[in-house]
Structure formats: C-alpha cells, structure tokens
Symmetry: C2
Subunit: 360 residues, 2 copies
Amino acid sequence: MARVYNFSAGPAMLPEPVLRRARDEMLEWHASGMCVAEMSHRGQDFMSIAAQAEADLRELLGIPSNYQVLFLQGGASTQFTAVPMNLLRGAASADYLNTGSWSKKAIAEARRYAEVRVAATTETERFTRAPAQTELSLDPAAAYVHYTPNETIEGVEFSYVPETGDRPLVADMSSTILSRPIEVSRFGLIYAGAQKNIGPAGLTIIIVREDLLGDAMAVTPTMLDYQVQAKNDSMYNTPPTYAWYLAGLVFEWLKGLGGLAGMAEINARKAQRLYHAIDRSSFYHNPVALDSRSWMNVPFTLADAALDETFLKEAKAARLTTLKGHRSVGGMRASLYNAMPEEGVEALVDFMSEFERRYG
Amino acid sequence: MARVYNFSAGPAMLPEPVLRRARDEMLEWHASGMCVAEMSHRGQDFMSIAAQAEADLRELLGIPSNYQVLFLQGGASTQFTAVPMNLLRGAASADYLNTGSWSKKAIAEARRYAEVRVAATTETERFTRAPAQTELSLDPAAAYVHYTPNETIEGVEFSYVPETGDRPLVADMSSTILSRPIEVSRFGLIYAGAQKNIGPAGLTIIIVREDLLGDAMAVTPTMLDYQVQAKNDSMYNTPPTYAWYLAGLVFEWLKGLGGLAGMAEINARKAQRLYHAIDRSSFYHNPVALDSRSWMNVPFTLADAALDETFLKEAKAARLTTLKGHRSVGGMRASLYNAMPEEGVEALVDFMSEFERRYG
C-alpha cells in the first residue's frame, strides 16, 4: 500500500489514523458485535457515539450553550435553501456578500425565496480579494447577512469576521471550519458540508443560535426545518450514522493535535510554505491579494498553460494527486485541509521547484 | 471478534463480505492511493464506482431505460416532501393509501403541499392487513397514487402491485426494495432509504420515469428537484460518495447470490421459518393477516408482556440483538433484511423455542 498526497478540494483526504481506526472497527465496534453502520440510531451504542461527537465538536469550537448543533444531510447546497426558509422570519430581504463561485450559488438559490441585496461584491475584480469591513453596505432591515468565509474555487478567505450589528451573521464554512479557532458567538448560524475538514461527504453540520429557530416559512420541507431537527436531536429520521461516527473520529484526532489552536499553527505553516514557493518564482502565479489568501485552497497557474497536462501527469507519478484547478479558474489548485500533512506540502513544493528547473 | 445476529429495523445488518471488502479497501481502493471517501466525486475512480453501482442496480431490478436512477441524500422523509413538489404537476390532489405508520407520515407531509385523498385505509383495523385492489377508491384526477409496499413498523406487506391505470404509482420501498424481483414499469416513481437493504444510512435511491420530470412546484428547493438531479447525474452537489460505494458492494454481493430471484428464495424461507415458529406456538403471536405478512419485518408479542425484558436480555446474551418492537406496537420485532443469514433466523427460532419451554 502506498498512500498518495491528495490535494482534492473535496471530498478530500482524511487523517490516516482515522482511517486506521475505521478499518479496525469495521467488522465490530468495541464489543458490540457490529459495524457502526449497522447500529440502530436509537440504540445506546450509537447514541453514545453521536453524543461524544457533538461534545467534542462543542469543545473544539467553544460553542456556547445557547447554540444547537445539528448533524444533517444534503450538503451546503441544501442549506442555500434552508437558510432563507428558516431565517427570513417574516422579513422580505437578506444581505449577501458576493465573493466567489459559492457565494453566487447561495445568492441564486436565496433569490427564489427572498429579495437578496448584494451588500458587497468583488466580481468585477474576478473575486481576487475579500471586501473590507468598510466596503460592506448593510441594510438595517435585512433578516440576516450571509457570507462565504472561504471561497473554495477562487482561494479567497476573509481575514476578519464581518461586523453586522443586530443582524444575524450566517456563514458557509464548508471549506474552512475547524482549520483555526473561531468565535462562534459572532455568528447567528454556521453551516458546513463535511467533506473537507469534518469527514466523508453526506454529512452537513449546522450550528445555530437558538433564538433564531421556530419561525420557518410555511413551505419549508419538514426535513429542512431547523426547529424540527433541533427538537429531535437531528434524528427526526435516520441520520447519516456512519458519517457521523467518522466525523467523531476526526474530532478526536483534532483534540489529540492540540485542538484548533494547534491545527491553526500547522495550517499557517503549510499555507506559508506553498505561497512562499509560488511568490519567489516567476514560473508560478497566484492572483489573490495577500490579505485574502486562503489557508485551505491555493490556486496557481503555470507561466505556460501548455505545460499544465505535463505538470499534472508528472505530479501524479510523484504521488501528488488531484491538483487540477477548477474549470472556471484553470491552472492548478492545491487544497491543504487539516488532514494534509506538512510532508505533503513539502513534497509538492519540492516537485514544483524541480518542475520549474526542468521546464521553466 | 464475535459478530451478532442483528435484527434491527434499520440501520440494519450489512453483508459480512461487504464489510470485509470495505475494511480491506479502507486505506487504499485498488491502486488509487486513497480511500473511496477521499476521492473527488468528479474524478475517474469515483465516476467508475458510481457508474458500476448504477449499472448493477439497473441489472438487479431490470430498470427500463426510460427511468432515471438517482443517488441522493435525506432519507424517505425528504421524499415525503419531494414527491408532491415534483409530481403534482399542476394538479390539486393526489391519492394516498393509508396502511401504517410510514404511510401516515407521508400523508401528513404531502398535506402541506396538496390536497390528499385517502384512497384506502386499514387504520380502524390497526393496520393489520393491506387493502385489496377492490377496496381502492381511486380518483381519476389524482396526480399520482402513493403507497407503502411494506410497513416497517406494523410488518404489513402488499402481496400485489396496485393497478392505478393512467395515474403514476409512487412507492416508498425503503424496507422491501431488493428483497425480491419487481416490475419497475408498473411504477412512476420508487424511492428508498438505503439503511435496510441497500447500504448505510445517508443514501436515498430514486427510480423515476423520465416523462414525470421537469414540472416541479416553484417553491421546490433546487436540491429536491428530480429534474436538476437527473440532469447532473446526482452530482448537482457532492453526493454521499462513501455510501454510494458501499451500496455498490451490496449490489455486487446480491448479483453473486443469483440476483433478486435468488434473494427472494432465501427471504421466503427465512420468513416462513419464523412465521411458522410463531404460529405453531400459543406463546408467541403475530397479528397480521396471512396474505399481508411482511417478509422483512416480523412483529410478535409474548403471551405475557411482563416477560419482554427477560426475553430481550437473554436474547442479547445469545447474541441476538435489537429485537425490541417499535414503541407504538410493543412486543418484539425481528427484521429479516437481505443481509440477515438463514443461520440467524435459525438461531432466533431455536432461542424462542427454548425460551417458551422455560417460561411458557
């Protein structure tokens, strides 16, 4: 067996210790006589796994007790609908920051249910930076303010949490959650698809302040009503039990690394290492403003796009995979989620340097 | 390691050969250098896994080419909303058969979006039988007819497919799909949560006739629009990739057993063995009419309910687990899904006989 360094934007690498645990427990979890995927979600064994995962996530993120944590299905794209359905609460409009491809999708879906005001946009700059706080034109009547702290495709990350006054701040944290500490009390609602920093695809985590619950639009599907899910501890129907268990193993692994403060140090080193390699070269280029560069997703282009295929082919031969950039941006993209070891970034930087030497 | 016979109604047992394959491939699938859960859903490896799973399911069920197969999230409860949103197609009402707890949930959710006509009900008989074709009072103007071929809680299964003329027949097959051959062309839409006969919780399979697509209600969340999902090959967003892979392993295992004809023979023997043991005893009782008894879920009571706890405790000690009946019905329930081996039923019947000898 020879595992690769997998730079996929998601689904993405999982920590190897997590995979080893899952492998060892596949035929029998503890002395249960069964795989976690075979357990009734109402049984003691799974209930303990579920509760431990939630407790560990609460500890890692420092989630205040007036926030509910939900373990749901459907991905962030389902939340693009659930957010306006649940959070408009009688208001007509919401404010959205337009900072990249995922913001745009969230805005397009919200427009089907609400009047969307774009409170800031960097589209004319091809989404190469996050707007500053002073650029946000917020509407006092907005039901909430939605933004995307990290844009997976453009590699743009906010270096600050927007100040929105009384309006609840809603964040799609799919590609940055758990990469560093955050102050949850600054947010009304946080949602994240699992397949980057949490676990396998098919699990979506919602962290929502309790006072925002209970006023969903009449057309809201019962399964998308946060209040219903909160009252049923995310078990209104059968939850994605095996994904929930794997997420729990990831949380345990993170705690062992020193929690999010420890993870942030590692992530900062990984990102600096790669950006430094890009910036010191005239062969590689990253278009994002220095203060908006993502720790998690690093897009870069080669001086000659005709070399892209060769780069990808030789990288794969060096066991560095899934580096192709999103088709809307082109070039390469290296995603450096929590599970990517520092050695992986080291190997990528070495490969890039050697590639430049031969082709640059 | 000592695996148990797990009679859970779902999530339920998975075939041991499937778990062994998943275990062996956990750190590396084939020569990919990664776990399937780590693969980009747009990459060649996962695309081949996804396509093979769909091809195997199409072969197993004999799905005609004018049907789409979708691999989605959210469970049957999400389909309770998606079905009226997608299939009303301008009509005001739909017909529903009310045959147990899951029918009732489907009806309650559909009432939020449509006028629901109950075209047959066995509620006054406490859901102890399926209605006959002659008892169905169908509305010519109904957009579709919805029923639950197997009621997981009451253990009631239709022994026939209702004839609904031009009205599309919609079936929640969560707890019976793949247990025996079916004629897919009799249905407009089939949906099923995976966690009984398909794979792990968190995957939902939809089989839908193409001419029913493309006329969803305006309020339909994009993620619940069958047309959108069909056009994107179930990859409008990241699908539940690992669950999809496990389902593929289950389909492969089923093909190895001789497909659904082979599985049906085994399932018929398992059910007969248990019902025979119940019927020949005056200590155990199953309330369901003979022609409506489920192959998959067998509820039964003990002559003295005061013995329930002892029964469950001793069964567990004999490595026969999750036999407690649903709280709404009481007593016991043995679910005999595809992955339950005949030896498991044999062991249960032996235990029941010995228990009756000692306590009866």
